[in-house]
Amino acid sequence: MLLLVALDGDPWAPVLSRVAQEAGTEVRLVDDLRELRFDVRVDRRGNPRCAVRTVRGDVPEGIVFRGGTVLAQDGGFGGSEHLAAWWALLAAFDGPVVNRPTRHGPLLTVDRLRTRRAAGVGVSAWTLREPWPAVPASRAVPAVTVVRRAADHRPVAPSGPDGCSFVADETLEVIESTAATVLWVLIAGERFLVPAGKGTLDLPGEAADRLRRILEPDLPALARLVVEFDREGDCRVLDADPLPGTDLLGEAVQDAASAVLACVTRGAAP
């Protein structure tokens, strides 16, 4: 049985459920830790042992964690305790897990890559109530500028007299790229997919290997990256979203879901 942990409305949950069931795998969807009974044991040498079942008695062989759970979203004490328990359970579970936490955190973000000073990660800049210069004198004109709120990473449209210079009454994160090519890349299991027409293409092996090296040991089984490629073929990660939607995948969403589930069913998830 596959345990799929996701909130109601999660765009991947119905796709993953359908693909898993078509492949003959039973799926249980849960959004609340209270639907499980579990214990995580740690011995004096730090070896974990984990037992988990649903309240109906089903025992999972693999877990896909989509981040959202009911109480873990509560910012209070109960929410902290439930999130801590999820983190422990997913870290200790001895079967395959999609989005298994590492010591850097439960879900991959670009901030997590920065705080562990991973090589190959793009630089952001921040501004609060200060004008952002339209064309920095010291640098090339960016081909891509992403501006988003530092509080929640929601994108905002730059505003200013010429559409480039802007100032805001809150902290903004500015990501600029002067590279020739900026792509979003969906990591789905062992595949690195880029959008192409109505579907997707696999990123060439050499580029995918570069990305794997940048992300290790935090390589996720499902995440969306924004990546810049220079003319020499080198790349840098500008952004990482651990909970991507399905909107840009078109008809390729089924293939992507199969690739994610292959990790769980093969036991090869990171």
């Binding site: 209270r34 009974r37 214990d39 983190w87 800049a125 609060l128 200060e130 004008p131």
Partner: protein
């Protein structure tokens, strides 16, 4: 210039700030910034590719990023104290930006934020620490099943403590066979962490810029933070293996300041690792150690030359 980023309501932040200001002889000006004040009324622009291009301003404090030679930063959760959603968003945004941005500054930072997020989950943290250090940890059981909790308690003859699973502050309690069995069904809604009680003193080891400062706490209560009458604090000797593990952990986590908690089993002398905190409240330990911890940090941040350690204060490396 040393930049101190934190909260005016945080005693630990103020403690090292005071020491940094007192060490003005090192020739570094200290600029103190309250993060909430910055969020509500200040401004800054920071581009790590060109730090000299930006300045932080709040009140009468002006900090050109290019002149910053060291950073003392503590960014506890502050947004929940804001009066409304707008305030929460402003404080959250500034905190998130600074927590990431200081990692891009090429100057000494105590401590780069978020370097050890796993201690938001005590069990995940314990697994991570045991894997990294090879040190022993107390046998533990995190569960929402009353039967499994009861089985764990029985395995250890009832000599068990319990506490919360997250970094939210909870008091450690000793298992009470007269009271607690009837309360076990409550864990079905919120899991609880049970651990074998290690009978012996606590030891807090602070790694401060590579220096080790250790204190032993003998306390009649199960949670020494309650400090009941009879609690005794004294400088401690740390076995070489433990000292090396603490220093290695501090280096691996990129945390020049690290508070590492141990229990030492009285019957065997074995050390059990409980927690490593990269944002420790260290001022009480520092005062009892005559300011030795903050002196190590001030030297690190100001680049002042190392002075010989006072006898009895350099407590690492004894076996």
């Amino acid at each position: 210039m040393i930049l101190a980023l934190g909260s005016a309501a945080d005693d630990t932040f103020l403690h090292l700030l005071e020491r940094l200001r007192a060490a003005d002889g090192a020739g570094r000006r200290v600029a103190a910034v309250d993060v909430v004040h910055l969020a509500l009324a200040g401004s800054f622009r920071l581009d790590p590719r060109d730090p000299a291009s930006g300045t932080l301003r709040v009140g009468d404090v002006e900090v050109p990023w290019g002149e910053v030679s060291g950073v003392w930063v503590r960014l506890p959760e502050l947004a929940s104290g804001a009066p409304d959603d707008e305030g929460r968003r402003l404080v959250t945004g500034v905190r998130a930006a600074l927590a990431t941005a200081v990692h891009g500054l090429r100057v000494p930072v105590v401590n780069p934020p978020l370097v050890e997020p796993s201690n938001a989950s005590k069990v995940a943290h314990l697994l991570s620490l045991a894997r990294r250090t090879g040190l022993a940890v107390p046998e533990s059981c995190l569960t929402d099943e009353p039967d499994r909790a009861a089985a764990f308690v029985a395995e250890h003859g009832g000599d068990v403590i319990y506490k919360g699973a997250s970094s939210a502050k909870t008091w450690v309690r000793r298992w009470d066979p007269a009271r607690d069995p009837a309360r076990l069904p409550l864990i079905a809604d919120t899991p609880v962490l049970f651990q074998r009680r290690v009978d012996g003193p606590d030891v807090r080891v602070h790694v401060a810029a590579g220096d080790l400062h250790a204190e032993r706490i003998d306390c009649p209560a199960v949670d020494y933070r309650l400090a009941p009458p009879g609690t005794v604090f004294a400088p401690a000797q740390v076995p070489e293996r433990i000292a090396r593990a603490c220093r290695d952990l501090s280096a691996a986590l990129d945390a020049p300041l690290l508070g590492v908690d141990f229990k030492v089993e009285a019957a065997t002398g074995e050390w059990f690792l409980l927690e490593a905190n990269a944002m420790p409240c260290f001022e009480g330990y520092d005062r009892r150690a005559g300011g030795a911890i903050s002196a190590s940090l001030v030297r690190y941040l100001t680049g002042a030359p190392q002075r010989p350690a006072r006898p009895g204060r350099s407590t690492g490396g004894a076996d």
